[in-house]
Structure formats: structure tokens, C-alpha cells
């Protein structure tokens, strides 16, 4: 049973890593490089981080489609994950969704990303 789910879990784990990188480069681009360009008159950060984020986004898209096709995800989930990757801090929602997916794959109740104090 464990060997049956292992390749899909490995794919999802790789997707989470790429999603983290994508989110981190988008936050750096939006909140460091772009303000530096417009208010600090330093465009070098955008010209360095822009292409890096672009390539990481392509890697994220390819990994997402590969994982979705291999794990037979619904199109709605793929659209949601692409949409969250376009927003700064959207990767937090994407990460939560992926965590739920892993939980569902293991046949366990998915753990929420955030817990409200009781």
C-alpha cells in the first residue's frame, strides 16, 4: 500500500517546494525589487529578480501540470493553484490546498494550516 502512494507523494512534495520558491520570489519582487525601482531609483533588482521569478513560475506551472495529470486532479484545483500563484502571499493558500491534497492521498483527515486558539 505504501509503495502505491509513494510516487504521487514525492511529486506533491516536489510541487510544494517549487510553490514555496515561486511564492518567495514573487514576494521579493513585489515588496523589495519593485519599490526599490520606483522609490529608490534602483532598477537592477527588478532586472535580476524578474527573469528569476519568471523561470521559477514556468517550473511551477510545469510541475503543477505534471502532478495534476499524474495524480488525476480536478481542473478546478489546478485553476485555483494557478490563481493563488499569481498573487503575493497567495502561495500560503496554495500550500494549504496542497497539504489537504497530501492528507486526502494518505486517507487521513487533512490538517488545517492555521488553527484558531480555543
Amino acid at each position: 500500500m505504501r509503495s502505491n502512494i509513494h510516487p504521487e507523494l514525492a511529486l506533491m512534495s516536489r510541487l510544494r517546494q517549487v510553490a514555496f520558491l515561486e511564492g518567495a520570489t514573487l514576494i521579493l519582487l513585489s515588496f523589495v525589487a519593485v519599490p526599490l525601482k520606483h522609490w529608490g531609483d534602483t532598477p537592477i533588482a527588478v532586472s535580476v529578480l524578474g527573469p528569476i521569478h519568471g523561470l521559477v513560475f514556468v517550473a511551477y506551472l510545469v510541475t503543477l501540470m505534471q502532478t495534476a495529470a499524474e495524480c488525476r486532479w480536478r481542473a478546478r484545483d489546478v485553476v485555483l493553484l494557478v490563481a493563488t500563484s499569481l498573487l503575493p502571499f497567495g502561495s500560503i493558500i496554495g500550500s494549504s490546498l496542497l497539504r489537504r491534497r497530501v492528507g486526502a492521498h494518505l486517507g487521513q483527515k487533512a490538517k488545517p494550516l492555521l488553527r484558531w486558539p480555543r
Binding site: 532586472s47 523561470l55 514556468v58 501540470m65 505534471q66
Partner: protein, 142 residues
């Protein structure tokens, strides 16, 4: 590197990539009388890992370098081309995921009833996108 050499390397990588994508879509087909054998599918997956995926990376790397050198990022045709190449990259991921599923002996049985219509649609989309990219680059309509 000379711009012409960059362009030649970019076109060569693009041809290799699109050929690899069509190979992936053919190898993902089945089940039918002409269904590819598991050995053939494994070969195509290996080809994808060592040839098609590096060709995609080369296309992106060389293309972005050329666009930055020529200051093309403000051109409409380049934005349209980037959208087409992004769609091709997504198709690459989808096809390799499908083939990995089909090539896996454990999981190939539950995909026996997957329709091949989506694969045909993806193959046609790959060809149409390739034509669109060629037209955008050569004609530069906007």
C-alpha cells in the same frame, strides 16, 4: 555570444522541444491495438528527461536572453509569444504526467478508460501554438 548564434540555438532547441512534445503525446495514447508498449513508454520518458526538458529550459533561457538584449519586452508580439510558450510548457507538464501514469505498471490499470480525446486536443494545440509562435516572431504583427 553573437545574436545570430543565439537565435540559431534558440530555434534548434524549440524544434527539439516541439518534436519531443509530439512524441510524448503519441506515447501517452492507449488503450488500443496501436497502444505503445511499456518499453517504448519508458524510452520516451527517458528521452523527455534528458532531451525534451533540457530543450525547454534552453528555449526559455536563450529566448529571454535575446529578448532582454534586443529590448523586446515592451512589444505586444513578444507578450503574445510568451503566453503561447507558457501554454506549451503547461502542455509539457500535462503530457509527461499522463505518460508517467500510463507507464507505471501499478497505476496504468485505473487509466484504461481515460479518453484519448484530450490527448488529441493537446497534440492539435501543440501544432497550432507552434504555428502561432512562428507567425508572431516572423511577422511581428503588433
Amino acid at each position: 555570444m553573437n545574436t545570430l548564434w543565439l537565435k540559431a540555438a534558440h530555434v534548434g532547441a524549440a524544434l527539439t522541444w516541439v518534436a519531443g512534445l509530439l512524441l510524448l503525446s503519441i506515447a501517452s495514447r492507449g488503450p488500443s491495438a496501436s497502444e505503445p508498449s511499456p518499453e517504448w513508454r519508458r524510452f520516451v520518458l527517458t528521452w523527455s528527461r534528458w532531451v525534451t526538458t533540457p530543450a525547454m529550459l534552453a528555449v526559455w533561457g536563450l529566448g529571454l536572453t535575446m529578448a532582454a538584449r534586443a529590448h523586446w519586452f515592451s512589444s505586444g508580439w513578444l507578450m503574445a509569444k510568451l503566453a503561447c510558450v507558457l501554454a506549451l510548457s503547461a502542455g509539457h507538464g500535462y503530457l509527461s504526467g499522463r505518460l508517467r501514469r500510463r507507464a507505471s505498471p501499478r497505476r496504468s490499470t485505473d487509466s484504461k478508460h481515460d479518453p484519448d480525446r484530450s490527448l488529441t486536443a493537446v497534440s492539435i494545440a501543440i501544432i497550432l501554438l507552434s504555428f502561432a509562435i512562428a507567425a508572431l516572431v516572423v511577422v511581428k504583427p503588433f
